[in-house]
Every structure is written in structure tokens, then in C-alpha cells.
């Protein structure tokens, strides 16, 4: 049997809308206590709730190690602003930022902006791919050593290390360079839910972490293989990609007999795969799927974060740690380090090197 790859764990901390920062800080600290790789906070322009990126920025100084991954939509937003905000989250968290790329397909969202009608998901995911692409270029548009503070010549930056990105896509163009210097991780971590077909190509091409929602380890492995095939076709090294199974979990009924297995719970509209049972059985399920080699880890969405996240951390995660399947501390400081992903080389710096 090949050695097991390290297990990665992440959790969503959104639930019913809350506007009080202490609520989110408490949940993120709890997840950090369990040494989880990252927390996500879902977002949409058309349902009650605060701006997720701002919330996780507010959480950043109140936490030390945990990765912070807000949902950021690309349909009605400016890619230049989005890339600046995500890079800034990386600066304020000292290298713990990611963004979960999403699109706005509904007419309700379109009417809030009044700029364009609702569009098919496939088109919007192509556009999201462009947003991810230009974001990565803008993050590279400052070489790491562009700031020189050379008092002798009066130059603050070496302008040869700042680059126009000159991005021309189907949906927009951006000249660049970024206004924000290259963030601590080089590029914040890009997360895409690759379950649905229109999103999968964008996930395979641009994501560092791909989420997959499926009901069995076999089906999950199939989707993962498809993501890998597509990523390889784009010339990507598969070692730069993590695939996490996405599960919605309800640990509210831990006292009653456990109902392991995924088909056992009632399906929740819009939430895909759903697990209901006790924290110990969830640990067993995670162990099983991970042993089967289906995924690199799990992204868990507790249906009631205040209650279920506590059970995940103190029950499920504690057990996985006890079984030596999950780390008990953070060996590194950045989200990329938690995920075992290298800091990406700067494409422009490479170009600049003599042949």
C-alpha cells in the first residue's frame, strides 16, 4: 500500500446570517484549536449576510495560524478590485489567505447591479477562469524584490521589476500592474468547487484546492481523476493540486444510534452530500475515504456551526489526531504551508532571467 498522503481538513463557518464579529472570531479560533487547514465563509450578493472577505479580514488579527478563505464572486465585480482585496487579506493575515471563486447566475443578483442580464453558468465560469488568471498575473506583477529603497539614486522601487499584465480576455481587459505588492504567499490559495461540469474546467486549470461533492468514495475518486486529467492537459503538475471531499454534516443527534454512510440522512436542498450521525462515526468515515485514496482531505460544512464545529473539533478531529491521521499542531505559518503547496515562482521574474 502506498504511504498515505497527509490529511487536510477545512470547515465552513457561515450559517444563518450574523453581523457580530465575535461570532466569527470564536468559530475561527475553535477551528484553529483543531489545527484545521482553513475555514471558509460563504457569500452571495442576494441573501442576507455580511461581506465574507471583510469578515475574515476582521478575524485575521484575532487568529494566528488558520487559513482564511472567503467566497468571492466574479460575475458582477471588478477583477482588479477582487485581486487587490484578496492580496490584502493575505497581507493582513501574514500569508493565510485564500479565496473561494464563485459566480452569480441568478436574475436576482443581476438586478442588484443592473449592468448585465443573468448568463448561463458555463459562460460565467469561463469568465471566473479569466478572473482567476488575471488575479494570479496581478499578484505576480510585482517581483518579490521590486521595493529597493535606494537612497543613493532616490529610487523607491526598481521599475524593471514591476510589470504590466496587459490581460485581454473575452470579458474584460486589465493593464496592471497591481497596486498591492506581491502578497506573502506569492499567490493566495484559489479554491473552486469542481463538482458541477461548468466549473470543473476552471477548477482544473486555476484552483490550488478543488472541492468535490459526491456520495461515495468511488464517485469522488472518479471526479478527482477527471480534474487531474484536465489539469494535466493544461500542463499542471498534479502535486500542486489538492482535492477535498465536501460534506455537509449534522452532528446534532450524537446521543441517538449513529447513522453512518451518506445516503442515510435526508438530503438538504442545495447542500449536496449530507452526513448525519456522531463525531466518532464521522471520523471513521473520513478515515475510510482517506485510506481508500479517494481524496486529500475534507471540507466540512456544519449545518449549525456553533454546535457542530465544536463537535467536529473536540470529537472528530481529536480522534483523528489520536489515531495519528491528522496533525496536532501547525508546522508552518502560511495556508500554503498547511496544504503542502509551494510558494509559486513569479512568472515575470522567470522571464527576466537571461537565457
Amino acid at each position: 500500500m502506498p504511504p498515505l498522503r497527509p490529511l487536510h481538513l477545512a470547515a465552513e463557518i457561515g450559517g444563518p446570517p450574523r453581523y457580530d464579529p465575535a461570532h466569527y472570531t470564536g468559530l475561527a479560533r475553535l477551528a484553529e484549536h483543531g489545527a484545521l487547514d482553513f475555514v471558509t465563509l460563504g457569500d452571495s450578493f442576494a441573501r442576507p449576510g455580511p461581506d465574507a472577505l471583510a469578515v475574515l479580514s476582521r478575524v485575521a488579527p484575532a487568529t494566528r495560524r488558520i487559513g482564511l478563505v472567503p467566497t468571492v464572486t466574479t460575475t458582477h465585480t471588478e477583477p482588479f478590485h477582487v485581486s487587490s482585496a484578496v492580496a490584502t487579506l493575505d497581507w493582513v493575515s501574514r500569508g493565510r489567505a485564500g479565496w473561494s471563486v464563485d459566480v452569480s447566475t441568478t436574475g436576482a443578483e443581476a438586478r442588484l447591479f443592473g449592468r448585465r442580464p443573468a448568463a448561463p453558468a458555463a459562460d460565467l465560469w469561463r469568465e471566473a477562469g479569466e478572473a482567476a488568471d488575471v488575479g494570479a498575473r496581478l499578484w505576480d506583477s510585482w517581483e518579490d524584490d521590486a521595493e529597493i529603497r535606494d537612497a543613493a539614486t532616490g529610487r523607491f522601487v526598481d521599475r524593471d521589476k514591476l510589470h504590466h499584465v496587459d490581460f485581454e480576455g473575452a470579458a474584460f481587459s486589465v493593464r496592471g500592474p497591481a497596486i498591492v505588492p506581491r502578497p506573502p504567499q506569492g499567490r493566495p490559495v484559489t479554491v473552486v468547487d469542481g463538482t458541477a461540469d461548468p466549473a470543473r474546467e476552471t477548477a482544473a486549470r486555476h484552483a490550488d484546492v478543488v472541492l468535490v461533492r459526491a456520495t461515495t468514495p468511488e464517485r469522488t475518486a472518479e471526479i478527482r481523476d477527471d480534474v487531474h486529467r484536465r489539469a494535466a492537459a493544461h500542463g499542471r503538475d498534479l502535486g500542486t493540486l489538492r482535492v477535498l471531499a465536501a460534506l455537509t454534516v449534522d452532528l446534532g443527534d450524537a446521543e441517538s444510534p449513529p447513522e453512518p454512510g451518506l445516503e442515510s440522512g435526508p438530503p438538504l436542498a442545495g447542500h449536496g452530500t449530507y452526513y448525519r450521525g456522531g463525531p466518532v462515526d464521522l471520523a471513521d468515515l473520513i478515515t475510510q475515504w482517506h485510506r481508500a485514496g479517494a481524496v486529500d482531505g475534507f471540507h466540512l460544512t456544519p449545518i449549525t456551526p456553533e454546535r457542530d464545529l465544536e463537535r467536529i473539533v473536540n470529537g472528530t478531529v481529536a480522534l483523528l489526531q489520536h489515531r495519528s491521521l491528522f496533525r496536532t499542531f501547525y508546522p508552518g505559518g502560511t495556508l500554503r504551508e498547511h496544504l503542502g503547496l509551494a510558494r509559486p515562482a513569479n512568472r515575470y521574474a522567470l522571464q527576466g532571467e537571461p537565457a
Partner: protein, 433 residues
């Protein structure tokens, strides 16, 4: 009968990207790392300031088609930094400059309302309208707007944002919102409840007659460059005089010029220090650049310690991009030549004299007296302090000048409220459901 002296308001401008920051000073630290923002914000809060202020630039400046490399470049995105600062401050207002031209009202109103919740009512928004094709190259819609259209878009933008902020009832129920105007069409339900101070505070910076009118009709605070006593009084009277037409009282709008402060043990020592700072701000390279900005052509062969060019500027040129444009280059050139001739100044000395921002220079007691004097004389309601050092540039002011202002009875000795509106003495906006 004596009346209590007029209270002054203080805000702190973060000394990152701008040509006043002295980055070559050995005490100068990062303009991008969070620790710098935290230090300056905590200093301002220790000094009981009304708010902390961040400027914005959406394209790196260019000169002759090449990126400007002489001043500090690179800044984080304002609202994201302020959300993080909300975690390490308790009372300080947190104000971001955000352009009305390159944003959409629904998204920005939501981000501002979120910041207001995350900070328990401390958010402020400096609405700027700068727009040009150069900056527009970073955005989907290109973004060039006529001077006149910029302010009609900004006014409709702010009105739409306020409508969204009012669309939840005070008891927390969302109600449908619809706005259809020449610039925006917004329909649906806002996702954030009414914010803890009613609405985030609206600040305006822009000096044209349209800008002043926009401020009088719309803003809670004006951030201006009119720093000298006479110019300040004229500006103050003009803008306050425009309020009545909108049914507003003079106190509904606070006027706060951006000013530098240089302190010394004695006035003479402070003067000497200020001159040294100006020499650092206007390096020989920066002097030639400032000249090229007015003259509109390559003057790199000129000696910064020599005389100004005899020939006239080319007003049509766009040599420098991404900076507020020189309004009338011919007039500016004439003024600079006159100054240089009268005082026998070199190019660099002329630029140093002609481009200085208003600064209060002197011992702590001199500076405290002058600041209070400006407010008493009707030249300002307070000041946005623009330090020249990141991030320690306010340490001395807070330690040495604030106590003197308190002794004079012109500045608070403790925060009396918790929201930015309460610091500014502004009423909560009446809910217009």
C-alpha cells in the same frame, strides 16, 4: 459670560503612497505590512482621534510611459485593511477613500455597511471622483467620465447607497429596494441590516465648484488642501455658505484640511527640521519630475540646482499619468518663474517652496496654539494630520501636542461616544424607510 472654546477634530492620514512620505529616513518602515497600520491606528486612538484615514490610487503613476519610481509605491486595499484594524482598535473611526467612478453602488454599499457592523459603527467613506482613461484601463467599463458626469454619477451613487442603508427597518427587517436612474439601476433586497451609526460617515475631497456643491448637498466631512489661514477661511465660508440651500446647518458638515506637523524643542529647531524634511521630500530627481509635470516635456537634461526653463509649457501633454492634473500649466510656470526670480531660487528650491503642503511647524505649544487658532478663526473644524514617517510619524504629536490641546479645553480628554458620528458631533441620519 464666557462660552466654551470650539472643539477641534483630529484625524490621521496613513503616510503610505504619497509624495510627502520620507521613505529614506532610517526610521521609516513598511507601507504595506499590517504592523505599520496597526501602529499608526493605535497611536491615533491613544490620541483620541476621530478617525484614521486611507487614501486610494487605482493605477501606479507613470512618467513618460514608465512607472514612477521615486516615491513610495504599493498599498493594500483600504476596506480590507480597515476591517482588520477594527480588531485592534475600539473607538477610532475607520475611513477609506473609495472611488465612485470605478465601483458599483450595491457592492460598495454592502462592503461599507459590513465595515460599520464589524467596527460597531466606526466606518467612513471618502467619496472621490477621479477618473481618467489611464486609470480606466484597469477596469471592465474603461471608466472615463466627463468632469460634469463624474459628480452626477457620484451623487447618484451616494444617494443609492443611502437608500440601500435605509432599506432595512430599524428593527431589523429587510424591505425591497429599487432605484432606477441615469447611471444605476438597482433592484432587490440589501443583505446587511441598518448599520450601528445609521449610515457610514460620508467624506468628500475635491475642490472644483461642482465638488463643493456635492459636499454641501451630501457630505458629513470635507477633506481639503486649503491649509493657510486666509485660504482656509475663504474655503470654509464658501462651503458652509452653500449648506442652507440644502436645508442644512453649518455644523452638519465638518471641514478638515490635510496638514503636516513638524515639532521641535524650540520653534527654531522645528523650522530647521521642517526644511530638512522638505529637502528629503523633494530630491533632485523629484524636483525635475515636478517640473516636467508642469512643463509637459522631457527636462532630464536640466540641472536641479540651476535655473528654470525659459520656454513655456506644453499644456496638451500628458507626460505624467495618474496624478491630479495641473490645472493651468502656463499660469503655474509663470508663478514659479516669478518666485525663482524674486528669491534667486534654483529649480529644486523653487519646487520646495511652491509645492509645500500647509504645515504647522514649531514647538508643541506653538503648534497647539496655531491649531486652536485656526479653528477659532473659522478656517477649519479640525485637521487631517499627514505625517511624513511610516508608521511612527504621529508618536510625538500624540505625546506632546494632544495634552496641550486638552489643557486649552479644545480637545476631548476621553471618547464620549463609540461611533464615528458621535466623535464628529454628527446626528444619526433619520431613517427614511
Amino acid at each position: 459670560m464666557t462660552t466654551a472654546p470650539k472643539q477641534l477634530h483630529l484625524a490621521a492620514h496613513f503616510p503610505g503612497v504619497n509624495n510627502t512620505t520620507v521613505w529614506a529616513d532610517p526610521r521609516s518602515r513598511s507601507q504595506i505590512e499590517f504592523s505599520s497600520f496597526e501602529h499608526l491606528a493605535r497611536t491615533a486612538e491613544r490620541g483620541l482621534f476621530d478617525f484614521f484615514f486611507l487614501a486610494e490610487g487605482l493605477r501606479l503613476r507613470e512618467h513618460n510611459g514608465r512607472i514612477h519610481d521615486l516615491d513610495v509605491v504599493g498599498r493594500p486595499e483600504s476596506l480590507t485593511v480597515l476591517a482588520a484594524l477594527a480588531a485592534v482598535t475600539d473607538r477610532l473611526g475607520l475611513a477609506a477613500t473609495v472611488n465612485a467612478t470605478f465601483n458599483e453602488p450595491y457592492e460598495l454599499a454592502r462592503r461599507l455597511a459590513t465595515l460599520d457592523h464589524l467596527s460597531a459603527g466606526r466606518a467612513g467613506w471618502n467619496v472621490v471622483t477621479s477618473s481618467d482613461a489611464f486609470t480606466g484601463e484597469n477596469f471592465r467599463r474603461g471608466g472615463y467620465l466627463d468632469r460634469a458626469d463624474r459628480y452626477t454619477r457620484a451623487a447618484e451613487f451616494v444617494a443609492t447607497a443611502r437608500g440601500l442603508w435605509d432599506s432595512w427597518t430599524p428593527d431589523g427587517t429587510p424591505r425591497p429596494f429599487a432605484h432606477h436612474g441615469p447611471h444605476f439601476s438597482v433592484e432587490g433586497e440589501f443583505t446587511v441590516p441598518r448599520s450601528p451609526q445609521g449610515h457610514p460617515v460620508v467624506i468628500q475631497a475635491g475642490d472644483s465648484p461642482e465638488g463643493r456643491e456635492f459636499a454641501a448637498s451630501t457630505a458629513d466631512v470635507v477633506f481639503t488642501r486649503h491649509g493657510t489661514l486666509d485660504a482656509g477661511r475663504a474655503f470654509y465660508a464658501d462651503v458652509k455658505g452653500r449648506l442652507a440651500a440644502y436645508g442644512r446647518e453649518p455644523d452638519d458638515l465638518k471641514i478638515m484640511p490635510g496638514v503636516g506637523v513638524v515639532l521641535g524643542d524650540t520653534d527654531a529647531e522645528a523650522q530647521e527640521r521642517a526644511a530638512g524634511i522638505r529637502r528629503q521630500q523633494v530630491s533632485p530627481q523629484n524636483a525635475i519630475l515636478a517640473l516636467e509635470q508642469v512643463w509637459g516635456r522631457d527636462l532630464s537634461s536640466y540641472d536641479p540646482e540651476g535655473p528654470l526653463p525659459e520656454s513655456d509649457p506644453d499644456p496638451a501633454s500628458a507626460l505624467v499619468q495618474g496624478r491630479v492634473r495641473v490645472a493651468d500649466p502656463l499660469a503655474v510656470a509663470a508663478r514659479w518663474r516669478e518666485l525663482s526670480r524674486q528669491k534667486g531660487l534654483s529649480i529644486r528650491q523653487t519646487v520646495i517652496e511652491a509645492t509645500g503642503r500647509q504645515s504647522f511647524v514649531g514647538s508643541p505649544s506653538t503648534v497647539a496654539a496655531e491649531l486652536a487658532g485656526y479653528v477659532a478663526a473659522g478656517a477649519a473644524d479640525g485637521f487631517v494630520l499627514v505625517p511624513h514617517l511610516t508608521p511612527g510619524g504621529l508618536d510625538d504629536f500624540v505625546d506632546l501636542v494632544v495634552p496641550l490641546l486638552q489643557e486649552r479645553g479644545v480637545f476631548r480628554t476621553a471618547y464620549t461616544g463609540s461611533t464615528l458620528r458621535s466623535h464628529l458631533g454628527l446626528a444619526e441620519p433619520v431613517w427614511k424607510g
